[in-house]
Amino acid sequence: MLRRRILPTDPSRPRGVRGLTLIEVTISMAVMTIAMAMFSGVITTTTRIGSEKRLASVASHAARSQLERLRCQPFAQVWRLYNESSADDPAGAGTGPGPHFEVPGLKPLKGDADGFVGRVVLPHVGTALLENAVDEGFGLPRDLNGDTLIDERDHAGDYAILPVMVELEWDTPLGPRRLEMHTMLAGYGS
């Protein structure tokens, strides 16, 4: 009868096989760790992007609401109410809302000149509303008071159509963000 001796190790088995298994495990652990780290990174990124999206949604609602606010004002007064100058506010100097506005939930950019997130941008040259100003974004130069002419007079008092832009700039963990919304106002019924 052939007796089998059970040896703790099988000398016919190359010693390296045991070492390879350990390497395999080590490599596997390393790969899994890297994979999990990357997966974790994906989750973190989606969370951050979710936060970004939230802020962008806040911004878009705020931009739309600001344009609605302009529509609620008497059309002939919109330019004076929301331009950079407070001296020409219809109800008295400084009584108008001005171009800048806050947006709860959004932080202004570091070093922002006015410290506000939102701004109503109206066509202007200095404190005047000029038809012959050049501004592609507003479609200028163009007739603003309905006489067909494009002249160099200030039409702050007799415009019949008004291009408007609302601009928001805010800070996020992923960097500064910006949103613009363009429209035109006309004095319906006036």
């Binding site: 016919s12 088995r13 096989v17 390879l20 298994t21 395999e24 495990v25 490599i27 596997s28 790969v31 899994m32 994979a35 999990m36 990357m38 997966f39 994906v42 989750i43 989606t46 992007i49 979710g50 999206k53 962008a56 949604s57 878009s60 931009a63 739309r64 344009l67 592609e136 974004g137 479609g139 163009r142 007739d143 309905g146 006489d147 067909t148 002419l149 002249d151 019949a160 159509i161 291009p163 832009m165 949103l179 613009e180 919304m181 363009h182 429209t183 035109m184 106002l185 006309a186 319906y188 019924g189």
Partner: protein, 485 residues
């Protein structure tokens, strides 16, 4: 056996690595799914922002179209094939005439993947009586040897010398038919209503168009003001009175034979019944300002009553008679028509009777404009339309009232493709698109304008806008557009 054992040992090698690979692939797949889900949400978010932008661009289109209608144009701005470029997107507006001066404006805006279409229905009304032309909402009769023509006083006064070669065409209009008696002359257009016709008597002439209008012309609504009432005026023979109160109202004014009444501007007078008996005189003095006279129940200017216009200023006087129907108004048992306009003397101003038949007697000569529910220009009467009245009011003469605003369906071809570049969707090159003010789509219009030229001289022009040189205009003093007849 050794081989089997070897195979067994070989089959165990790399087992962990394969399992790890499988697990890593599974994690990778999970990450991709998460990212995909997140990018779907991101796309939803971006679409929501783009939709708000597109909505405001569509509003911009409505504003541009409204501005265009107010200026006398159709309201069409750009087309789907050539939209107007504005801000970070584009828009176009389709205008549809709905009849009775009601216009439907449909504006589509596109920005990124956002799309929006809005509708605004407006009613366009001229506040200027002259914009109706020489007008009848029913039939018009031009008597034998009667004359209807036009001229341009350029804001001046007096009886003009009408040069038939340079005079603008007379705008005779009806919502019914037009009948021209023997040897009657219309130097200009005689436009019947939809389905109407022009009947010519022997040797009668119309020098302009007689094509029926495509839609009826609305009579201008009238709002009769209410003022503090004053005591009735009854002027017996030899008596005279001057009304120069800025605003006053009477129930009855009777100017007897040989009496005279003067309305001295600026004044606005409302009277229920105005009677000027034969040889009585009614003077309209616009030297100091405009005169407006509203007659709400009975305008009775007997034959041989005298009308006087010392200033001979067509822009200075408006007579608006809202009286209607025939009934016995003076208690003599005989029905009286709402209007009896038989006075002598030329009339200078605008005469408007939207609810009654107005018969101009043979000796009548009107400088200015006239419109009535039914207009009868008797044999030999003359009506001279003053084109300068179209621009005589320096205030805006066209009122465009919004009637309805709502969100409507986006055009199918546009809604089908929500790609992020609207210019690609419409297959247009943004560099070739015009800005909104240059994107009007209009056929030629009739322009009436008074202006200062580059040397600051007063000028006027009446005619097709395509024939007008805008580069010579320094300041616009008055402007009016209407469709070319």
């Amino acid at each position: 056996m050794h081989r089997n054992m070897t195979r067994g040992r070989r089959s165990r090698r790399g087992g962990v690595l394969i399992a790890t690979l499988v697990a890593t692939i599974a994690i990778g797949a999970l990450s991709v799914c998460l990212l995909e889900l997140d990018s779907t949400r991101l796309r939803q978010q971006v679409a929501s922002i783009d939709n708000k932008r597109a909505f405001n661009l569509s509003e911009a289109g409505l504003a541009e179209a409204y501005f265009s209608v107010k200026a006398g144009f159709s309201g069409n701005i750009g087309t789907q094939a050539e939209p107007a470029k504005f801000g970070d997107g584009l828009f176009w507006v389709v205008a549809t005439e709905l009849g009775d001066n009601v216009i439907g404006l449909e504006s589509t805006g596109m920005s990124g993947s956002g799309r929006a279409t809005l509708s605004l229905v407006v009613k366009r009304q001229s506040l200027n009586l002259a914009s109706m032309g020489i007008m009848s909402s029913q039939d018009v009769s031009v008597g034998a040897r009667a004359l209807v023509d036009a001229y341009d006083s350029k804001g001046g006064r007096g009886i003009p010398l009408i040069n038939i070669l340079t005079a603008p065409p007379a705008p005779l209009r009806s919502n019914g038919n037009i009948t021209i008696g023997a040897a009657g002359i219309v130097r200009g257009n005689a436009v019947p209503g939809p389905g109407g016709s022009v009947s010519f008597g022997l040797l009668s002439i119309v020098t302009g168009s007689t094509t029926p209008a495509s839609s009826p012309v609305s009579m201008l609504p009238v709002q009769v003001p209410k003022f503090t009432p004053a005591a009735d005026i009854v002027l017996a023979s030899g008596a005279s009175q001057v009304i120069n109160t800025p605003e006053v109202q009477y129930a009855s004014i009777v100017v007897g034979s040989g009496a005279s009444l003067a309305l001295r501007g600026p004044t606005r007078v409302v009277v229920d019944q105005l009677t000027v008996q034969g040889s009585g005189g009614l003077e309209i003095d616009t030297t100091g300002g405009k005169v407006e006279l509203y007659v709400t129940d009975w305008l009775n200017l007997a034959s041989s009553a005298k009308l006087g216009f010392p200033a001979q200023d067509t822009a200075g006087f408006k007579l608006i008679a809202t009286a209607t129907g025939s009934r016995d108004r003076d208690g003599d048992g005989v029905a009286d028509p709402a209007l009896r306009f038989q006075a002598n003397g030329p009339f200078f101003g605008s005469l408007y009777a939207p609810n009654a038949r107005l018969a101009l007697q043979p000796a009548c000569e009107i400088y200015g404009t006239v419109a009535a529910q039914r207009l009868v220009i008797a044999d030999g009467a003359k009506v001279h339309f003053d084109a300068a009245l179209l621009t005589s009011d320096t205030a805006a003469t066209i009122l465009v009232s919004p009637l309805s605003w709502r969100v409507v369906e986006i055009p199918v071809q546009v809604a089908r493709d929500l790609s992020e570049d609207p210019f690609d969707v419409l297959a247009v090159d943004p560099a070739t698109l015009e800005k909104p003010s240059e994107s009007r789509v209009d056929s030629d219009v009739e322009l009436s304008i008074k202006y200062l030229d580059l040397s600051l001289s007063f000028q006027t022009y009446v005619g097709p806008e395509s024939g007008f040189d805008w580069s010579g205009v320094s300041t616009v003093l008055g402007i009016f557009r209407q469709p070319l007849l």
